[in-house]
C-alpha cells in the first residue's frame, strides 16, 4: 500500500500514460454543452429515492454488524468475555481482540499501523469487539452483553500540553509524531529588518469532524473466497487495495462497489476498520453483513480536521511589499500519525509573493481519534492565520486589504522546487472581479452603524496547493450500434456532479444528449482504475480522460463514415447522432445507419490521462467577500451575504460549479462560526459533543441565502486537455478568515481562535470595552 500520510489523493512517482504530450488534441474552442448550466444526469435517482446508497442496501440473508468501542480515552483491554453475547437471540458471529483470527490481530493498514482489535486503546472509540446479528437491535443487545475489562491509563487530550515532560505518553516514542518539518527560503531576519511594519499574532483553529450525512458503512458479502464490498466511499480502488492487503487476498478477489455515497469530504478515501470487520463477520457467519456506524461513532473514529495552533510573524513595507513571513504551527492527528500538520503551512509558503519565508511544523500525539484529510487539509487553518494577518498588515500601513493582496500576487509557485510558473493564475482576477461584484469599496467605506448591531465587510484570498489532477486514469466510451453511448469510468461521484460533467464531455465530443449517456462507474469489477475522488482533482483528472476516450471513439466512427461516404475524415463532424459532411449537411448519415458500426455492434474508445506539464504548477485560486452584522449585546453574528470569485480553470457545469462554491462557503462558515470538537480534557478525555445537537453544523438559518458565485472562467489548456482545475476544496479555504475580517471590520475585535461563537465574541467585546 502506498503511504497516505501526506499524499492522500494520488500515486507517488511517474506512471505510464497515453497519449504522450505531443499527441494531445487541440483545446476546445467554443463549446456547446460544456460550461452550460445543466441539472444532474442522476437527479431522478437522487430525488425519487431509487438511488441505492451502500447503507440502503439489503441482501438476502443479510445480517447487521455492530462494534463495541473502548469507552475510555486511553486504556488497555485486559479481558473480553463474549460468551453471553454469543448465546443471544439472532447473534451469528462475534469477534474480538481475543478471537483467534490472523486478520483480527495483524496491522490492518500501512496508514495507521494498529491491529484491527488492538488491546491497547489509544483513543475513545477504538475497536474492541464486534457482533453480527439478525437485526441491528439484536446486534446492539449483544454488544451490550459483551463483558470487556479495561485497565484505564493516563491520557492527554490537548496537544498544547502533550509535549510537557510529565504528559502521559500516547505512543512509546513519546508525544511528538515524527520530526519537526522545516521549510525556508531567503533570509527571514533580513526581511524583517527591511520591513516598515512587523506584526506577530497567535491563532488557533479547533478540530472539526467531517460528519457526512451518510454515516461510514458498508455491506460485505462472500462468494466462496471472493469478497464483494458495497462501500460508502470516495474511492473504490483505495478500498479494494486496503481490504486486499489487510486480508491477504489478491485484488481480483476483492470487488468494491460505490455507485452512490452520502458525502465524505476526505473521510472516506480508504477502507475503514469497519470495512474489514464487516468482511470478517461475514466470513465467520457465512452470510452478508451490513455494518453502518452510528453517528456517535463517526465523531470518534473516522477522521477529523486536526486542531491547529499557529504563530505568524509578518513584515511589510509601506508600499505593501511583503518582506518576510515566519510561521510556526503545531497540530494533532490524534493517537496515530495521521496528518496532524498536513499542508498546514502551504498558504504562507505560496499564496503571496514573498522572498523570505520560514516555516516549522510539529505533529503531536494526543488520545483522540486519528485525523483524516478534511476538505483542503491544512489550508483553511493556515488561511485563518495568514488572511487575518494580511488584514492587520493592511490596516497598519493604511492600505485597502484588497490592494495589499493585489500588490503581492505571484505568477510562480515559490514553495515548489525550481520556483515553477503557474500554468494559469486567476488570483488577480478573483480579487478584482470579486471586489467589483461585491461592491467592495463602497461597502468598506460605509459606516458600521450607531446602534448595538454593527455592520462590517471582510475578505480573504486563497489557493489550493494541488487541484491539478493527474494520471493514472483510464476511461472507456462505448458507442452502441444505434449510436447511443455508455461511459465507463472508475471515479466516484461524491456529490460534486462528476457523472454529469463527464456526460457533458462525452456529449460535447460525440454530439449526443448528456442525459442519454449511460454511466457505469465506481466499481472495481467493471471499470478501469481511477484514483479516489478527493483533492479537487476529479474533474481535472477525469474530464481530460473522458475527453480522450470520446475522441478515440469519435476517430473510429469518423473513419468508418469516411470510408462509407467516400469523404475525407477532416470533412466530417458528429452532430445529434449523425455524421455530417461539412460541405453538404443534407448528406448527413445517422450513426445507426453506418454499416461498419452495425457490423461491429460497438465501437470502444479508450482514454488515458496524460501527464501534467513538466516544470509548471497548476493550482486553483480564490477570493471571497462577505458582509456581517454583529449584535454587540449578544455576540450573535448574522451573515448577510457572500461573494465568491474562483479561478478553477474552465467551468465545466455552471450549475454544479456554483453549488460546490456555496457548499464550500457553508462548510467554511462551520469552521469559522460553529464547529468545535470538545474533549473533556480535565476529567475523562472523552468527546462530549459527539452528536449533531451539541456539535453545531450550519443549518438553513445560519447561512445567507444571498450568495453569489463569480467564476473566473479562463480555461487552462496547458494544464490538461479539458482546461479545468479543481473547485471543491478552494471553495472552503478563505471563508472563515473572510468572516473573521468582517467581524473585525464591524467591531474592531479580532477573533483569533475558532469558532467565533456568541460567547467568545461577547467576551472579546467586553474585554475590549466594545460591548453594547
Amino acid at each position: 500500500m502506498r503511504n497516505e500520510r501526506d499524499r492522500p489523493y494520488w500515486i507517488e512517482g511517474d506512471v505510464p500514460h497515453a497519449p504522450t504530450p505531443d499527441q494531445g488534441p487541440e483545446p476546445w474552442g467554443e463549446t456547446k454543452i460544456v460550461g452550460t448550466k445543466r441539472p444532474r444526469v442522476d437527479g431522478y435517482e437522487r430525488v425519487s429515492g431509487t438511488a441505492v446508497y451502500p447503507t440502503d442496501l439489503t441482501l438476502p440473508r443479510m445480517l447487521y454488524g455492530a462494534i463495541l468501542r473502548c469507552p475510555h480515552a486511553h486504556a488497555r483491554v485486559t479481558a473480553v468475555d463474549t460468551s453471553a453475547a454469543e448465546k443471544m437471540p439472532g447473534v451469528e458471529a462475534v469477534l474480538s481482540a481475543f478471537t483467534p483470527d490472523d486478520a483480527a490481530t495483524t496491522p490492518h493498514s500501512a496508514f495507521i499501523r494498529a491491529r484491527l482489535f488492538d488491546p491497547h486503546c489509544r483513543y475513545e472509540g477504538e475497536t474492541v469487539a464486534a457482533v453480527a446479528a439478525e437485526t441491528p437491535y439484536q446486534a446492539w443487545d449483544a454488544v451490550r452483553a459483551i463483558r470487556a475489562e479495561y485497565e484505564r491509563l493516563p491520557f492527554v487530550s490537548d496537544e498544547r500540553r502533550a509535549l510537557e515532560p510529565d504528559a502521559p505518553k500516547v505512543q512509546d516514542e513519546g508525544n511528538q509524531a515524527g520530526d519537526t518539518q522545516h521549510y525556508s527560503r531567503g533570509d527571514v531576519a533580513a526581511g524583517f529588518a527591511e520591513a516598515d511594519v512587523v506584526l506577530e499574532e497567535e491563532y488557533r483553529t479547533e478540530c472539526e469532524i467531517h460528519t457526512p450525512m451518510e454515516p461510514h458503512g458498508c455491506v460485505a458479502r462472500w462468494d466462496g473466497d471472493a469478497l464483494t464490498v458495497w462501500e460508502s466511499t470516495q474511492g473504490v480502488y483505495n478500498v479494494q487495495n486496503g481490504v486486499a492487503a489487510s486480508l491477504g487476498l489478491p485484488l481480483s478477489k476483492v470487488r468494491v462497489i460505490g455507485h452512490y455515497m452520502g458525502g465524505g469530504f476526505g473521510s472516506k478515501l480508504s477502507a475503514g476498520k469497519y470495512t474489514l470487520i464487516a468482511a470478517l463477520l461475514a466470513k465467520r457467519a457465512a452470510r452478508p453483513v451490513k455494518l453502518v456506524l452510528t453517528r456517535e461513532e463517526t465523531y470518534l473514529a473516522v477522521g477529523n480536521r486536526p486542531p491547529s495552533n499557529m504563530r505568524l510573524k509578518a513584515g511589510v513595507k509601506r508600499d505593501g511589499t511583503l518582506t518576510a513571513l515566519e510561521y510556526v504551527g503545531t497540530g494533532s492527528g490524534g493517537a496515530y500519525r495521521a496528518g496532524g500538520i498536513s499542508l498546514l503551512d502551504w498558504q504562507v509558503r505560496d499564496l503571496y509573493t514573498c522572498p523570505n519565508v520560514r516555516t516549522e511544523l510539529t505533529d503531536i500525539y494526543i488520545n483522540a481519534g486519528p485525523a483524516r484529510p478534511f476538505r483542503a487539509p491544512g489550508h483553511p487553518q493556515c488561511s485563518w492565520a495568514l488572511e487575518q494577518m494580511m488584514d492587520a498588515l493592511a490596516e497598519a500601513i493604511g492600505m485597502d486589504p484588497v490592494q495589499l493582496r493585489l500588490r503581492n500576487v505571484p505568477t510562480t509557485s515559490q514553495a515548489r522546487d525550481g520556483n515553477p510558473p503557474y500554468t494559469t493564475t486567476g488570483f488577480r482576477a478573483c480579487l478584482e472581479e470579486g471586489a467589483r461584484a461585491f461592491g467592495w469599496s463602497e461597502a468598506r467605506a460605509a459606516a458600521s452603524g450607531d446602534g448595538p448591531v454593527k455592520r462590517g465587510v471582510g475578505m480573504a484570498g486563497g489557493l489550493w496547493g494541488y487541484g491539478a489532477g493527474g494520471p493514472p486514469c483510464t476511461v472507456f466510451v462505448k458507442v452502441f450500434a444505434d449510436g447511443s453511448v455508455n461511459l465507463n469510468m472508475g471515479a466516484s461521484d461524491i456529490g460534486t456532479g462528476t457523472k454529469t460533467v463527464m456526460a457533458m464531455v462525452v456529449a460535447e465530443e460525440l454530439g449526443v444528449d448528456p442525459d442519454a449517456v449511460q454511466i457505469d462507474h465506481a466499481d472495481t469489477g467493471t471499470t478501469a482504475y481511477a484514483s479516489a475522488s478527493g483533492g479537487s482533482k476529479t474533474v481535472p483528472t477525469e474530464s481530460p480522460t473522458v475527453r480522450a476516450a470520446a475522441l478515440d471513439a469519435k476517430r473510429q466512427l469518423l473513419q468508418l463514415a469516411a470510408e462509407e461516404l467516400g469523404l475525407d475524415v477532416a470533412a466530417l463532424r458528429l452532430e445529434d447522432g449523425k455524421v455530417v459532411p461539412a460541405g453538404d449537411p443534407s448528406q448527413a448519415k445517422a450513426l445507426s445507419e453506418l454499416r461498419g458500426l452495425r457490423q461491429r455492434r460497438m465501437i470502444t474508445g479508450v482514454g488515458h490521462r496524460g501527464p501534467n506539464p513538466a516544470d509548471k504548477a497548476t493550482c486553483p485560486f480564490a477570493a471571497q467577500f462577505c458582509e456581517v452584522e454583529v449584535n454587540t449585546r449578544t455576540g450573535e453574528v448574522k451573515i448577510v451575504r457572500f461573494v465568491a470569485a474562483h479561478d478553477s480553470g474552465r467551468v465545466m457545469n455552471r450549475l454544479t460549479y456554483q453549488n460546490q462554491v456555496f457548499g464550500g462557503i457553508t462548510m467554511g462558515i462551520g469552521l469559522g462560526m460553529t464547529e468545535v470538537r470538545v474533549l473533556d480534557g480535565d476529567q475523562t478525555g472523552k468527546l462530549v459533543n459527539k452528536n449533531w445537537h451539541d456539535y453545531k453544523l450550519p443549518t438553513a438559518l445560519d447561512v445567507p441565502a444571498d450568495m453569489t458565485c463569480v467564476p473566473i472562467d479562463v480555461p487552462d489548456p496547458e494544464a490538461n486537455i479539458a482546461g479545468a482545475k479543481g473547485i471543491g476544496e478552494p471553495a472552503t479555504i478563505p471563508t472563515a478568515a473572510a468572516l473573521a475580517n468582517a467581524i473585525y471590520h464591524a467591531t474592531g475585535v479580532r477573533i483569533t481562535e475558532t469558532p467565533a461563537s456568541p460567547i467568545k465574541l461577547v467576551q472579546a467585546l467586553t474585554d475590549a470595552g466594545k460591548g453594547a
Binding site: Y137, G263, E296, H693, A700
Partner: protein
C-alpha cells in the same frame, strides 16, 4: 416517558454509543403508556446553531396493545409480508397495520423498532435515510398525517392506521412530483443523502403554506441538515416547487 425517548438521550453513557438500538434489551417490552399520553418528537424547524432547538409537533403515542404471545407468532407470520428473516427465539412481536403511501401493510414488529428501520430494512423503502438515528438531521423525514416527522424518532407501533407518506409516495407512477422536480431543476443537493428528507420537509411546508416567504422556507427547512451545504439551492428549489405546484405542472 417511553423507554425509547429516555434511552435515546442516555446513549452517550454506553461504551458503544449504541445508536440504532433503543436501550431496551430484547426481552424488555416497553412500558405501556396510558392512552392519550403525548410525547414530543419529530421534525424540528427553528434549529439554529447557537439557538435552542424548537421542538414542535406532538404525536399521540398509540398503545402497544398488539403484542402477540410467542406461541402465536408462527400463525401470524403469514400476515407478515416482508419479514424474510424470522425473528429469533424469545422476541415478542406486535402486529401493526401501517398505511404507507396509501397502501395498508400488516407487519409484525418489535415494539422498539423505529419507523425508519421498518421502512428501510423491512419494507425496502430506502428513500427514507438515516443520518443520526436520534432526531437531529432530518434525513428520515416523512409525512405523518401530512406533517413532516422524523421517522427515526417514531416507533412503528405508534402509527396504527396513520397515513404515512415517504418520498416514494410523492411519485406519480414513474414521474417525479413537483417538489422532486424542483429539486432537480435547481440542483438542490450534492451527495443527495439528505435530499429525500429535505423534499419531504418542503412538501410538508408547501401543503400547509402554498406560497411561503424566504424566511418561512428557511425556518421550515432548518430541521434538515445538509453537510454538503446546498442550502441556497434548496431555498430556490422550495420556491420553484411552490410555482410548479400552482402552475398546473403538479
Amino acid at each position: 416517558m417511553p423507554k425509547r425517548t429516555a434511552s435515546t438521550f442516555a446513549r452517550d453513557d454506553l461504551p458503544a454509543s449504541a445508536a440504532g438500538a433503543t436501550g431496551a434489551p430484547h426481552h424488555d417490552i416497553p412500558s405501556r403508556e396510558p392512552p392519550g399520553e403525548t410525547r414530543e418528537l419529530a421534525h424540528r424547524p427553528g434549529r439554529q446553531s447557537e439557538g435552542l432547538t424548537g421542538v414542535v409537533g406532538r404525536l399521540r403515542v398509540a398503545q402497544a396493545e398488539q403484542t402477540i404471545p410467542l406461541g402465536q407468532r408462527h400463525e401470524s407470520l403469514a400476515e407478515c409480508q416482508v419479514d424474510a428473516a424470522p425473528p429469533a427465539e424469545g422476541e415478542r412481536l406486535s402486529k401493526v397495520t401501517l398505511v404507507i403511501n396509501g397502501r395498508q401493510r400488516q407487519l409484525q414488529v418489535e415494539p422498539r423498532w423505529s419507523l425508519a428501520y421498518v421502512l428501510r430494512e423491512r419494507l425496502g423503502l430506502s428513500g427514507t435515510k438515516v443520518g443520526c438515528d436520534r432526531g437531529e438531521c432530518g434525513a428520515c423525514t416523512v409525512l405523518i398525517d401530512g406533517v413532516p416527522r422524523y421517522a427515526c424518532m417514531t416507533l412503528a407501533v405508534e402509527l396504527e392506521g396513520k397515513p404515512i407518506t415517504t418520498v416514494e409516495g410523492l411519485m406519480r407512477g414513474e414521474e417525479l412530483g413537483p417538489t422532486q422536480q424542483a429539486f432537480v431543476e435547481e440542483d438542490a443537493y450534492q451527495c443527495g443523502y439528505c435530499t429525500c428528507g429535505q423534499i419531504m420537509a418542503a412538501e410538508g411546508l408547501l401543503r400547509a403554506t402554498p406560497t411561503p416567504s424566504l424566511d418561512e422556507i428557511r425556518k421550515q427547512m432548518s430541521g434538515n441538515l445538509c453537510r454538503c451545504g446546498a442550502y441556497p439551492h434548496i431555498f430556490a428549489a422550495v420556491g420553484r416547487a411552490a410555482e410548479l405546484r400552482k402552475g398546473g405542472a403538479s
